[in-house]
Symmetry: C2
Subunit: 326 residues, 2 copies
């Protein structure tokens, strides 16, 4: 009972911040995202009656207590569904930095979900996988379907899942990630969003999210890059505004994030249509149409503080790499 799955990170154009149910990880609002072709987690799960305890290795190393517990609780969900009680060996590797705003928990829990389900001998629909992944890490549900994806917030666990709105080849846009992080963020997303309601602006934000999601879907459908870009950049600033006005304030940006945020409008003024978005972390995502990727890369290469540049196109969702059922 062993399976290996690969799952992408995703970049949210409208963001997930705040939960209406902490245990089920039901988000305060729906969101729209894109799977990323080159930010990937590969996870192997093996269940065996011979294992005496769950063993989790991520990027070749051990885990902090809280992180390990969160993964074991997710394995428990799978064991409950499969009605098994075997312990598991989990080996997971990211091809990108963790804990810096590249959403490794999204790709990680999506890959874990698919690998564990297969290793446990179950077959779930995409919707069921998305619901299950969500319970491990909210945004992981968006890494199950392929391409352009919407997460329906839902009021119950069964109603809160992600579905494809357009396949990867619908629109040739790119997410050029500039790695500017300076180590893991001080406060984990999962903890930080518990204080979302302490921002005086959270209710106003929530009252506008439904309309914003409708708009971003329309701009993606119409391939209206300018309106799409304006919306996603404003939305990223709004997300960070909520964090900055929470008590205690959360400041995720590094100096590299800030520098690029301030450069992007100048690059637009020079004729490069590019917009930024930032997850709950430090690294900054530059969204452009495919034909402008080289121009954006050239701009980033001029900046000595950019440690890495990772170009992503709209990607496939979680998929099985191999399956070894004994």
């Amino acid at each position: 009972m062993k399976a290996t799955a690969i799952a992408p990170s995703n970049i949210a154009f409208t963001k997930y911040w705040g939960r209406k149910d902490e245990v089920l990880r039901l988000p305060e609002n729906g969101s729209v995202s894109m799977c990323l072709s080159n930010l990937l987690t590969t996870t192997t799960v093996e269940f065996s009656p011979e294992f005496e305890k769950d063993e989790v290795t991520i990027n070749g190393g051990g885990l902090e207590e809280g992180e390990a517990q969160r993964i074991i609780r997710h394995l428990d969900r799978v064991r409950k569904m499969a009605e098994i009680d075997q312990k598991a060996k989990v080996v997971s590797n990211n091809n990108f930095p963790s804990g810096t705003g590249l959403s490794s928990s999204a790709s990680g829990f999506a890959a874990l979900t698919l690998a564990a389900i297969k290793a446990a001998g179950l077959n779930l629909t995409e919707k069921e996988l998305s619901i299950l992944a969500r319970q491990g890490s909210g945004s992981a549900c968006r890494s199950i379907p392929s391409g352009f994806v919407q997460w329906l917030d839902g009021d119950t666990s069964e109603a809160s899942y992600a579905q494809q709105i357009f396949p990867p080849n619908h629109w040739a846009i790119a997410d050029v990630v500039a790695v500017v992080s300076e180590g893991k963020k001080e406060v984990a997303t999962s903890l930080g969003m518990k204080s979302a309601q302490s921002s005086p602006f959270m209710q106003v934000r929530l009252s506008r999210m439904k309309e914003k999601n409708e708009k971003v879907k329309e701009f993606i459908k119409d391939k209206n890059f300018t309106e799409f870009g304006e919306l996603l950049e404003a939305e990223a600033l709004e997300l960070h505004t909520i964090m900055l006005t929470q008590r205690p304030a959360l400041i995720y940006w590094t100096t590299g994030t800030l520098r690029i945020m301030k450069l992007v409008p100048h690059w637009r003024a020079e004729g490069i249509p590019v917009y930024f978005t930032i997850n709950t972390g430090q690294d900054i995502h530059l969204i452009c149409e495919a034909e402008n990727v080289e121009k954006v890369k050239a701009k980033l290469k001029e900046l000595d503080f950019v440690k890495d540049i990772i170009v992503n196109t709209p990607g496939e969702g979680a998929r099985l790499l191999s399956e070894h059922l004994y």
Copy 2:
């Protein structure tokens, strides 16, 4: 008809952003500030029938067209009050950088107002001076009275002025300014605040300002430094999030500003009671009690990107330096 006045910059604990009357410069909300003992503008105004045109020299140099026009319009207000039509020579010097968030327009228009009024042979009350200074630059009205000051927003020009709430010696706190600016800001305050209402959060902010002002006055009265500090730091972040969510977004912070914003909570955790505030610019103000000034300075001296450190105590308002009436 010549007079020289000196006026301080001021640091706002609750901020001025957005106007309900653009021409009269009536602010959307009241604010509370402190005059700064060591950020000073000295201005000499001379009216003479021999001058053929108004001549303005600031920091030894000329001015941009818009800046000169704003000063000449202010001289026109004084000439109208004094019923004179003589042209003026204005010489003004700041002992600190301009256009980087140290509020040189506040000290500048306060000094100009007092010097011009005296040079024109008029005597105004403090309230009248404050009303007049406000029409040149809103926050200049707060640089007329001494010490701890409140600006009453008012619905008419006569009702919108600043008054002392406590004298300078009421409370031994300090504003340790860290100069981290990288040149003048790209968008002037006066222009930037015209778009305040485009932030989706502006109305929520305004609905809370009255209570916030009452609280900050109470904390100053009680010398409750912790509550005072928490409030002013949250208020600075709130001001900047309004700017971040305006269309187009305004990002005034530099990398130096951001670094210190992120360090301050760590300094508090180490036992130094210090809070930051930021005006509509880049330089960052560290507010602490007098006994902690040396500790805060020592922290700033460790940072190679801090170009200058200016320690201010609660200061005197605008005052006449010399008067030469012919």
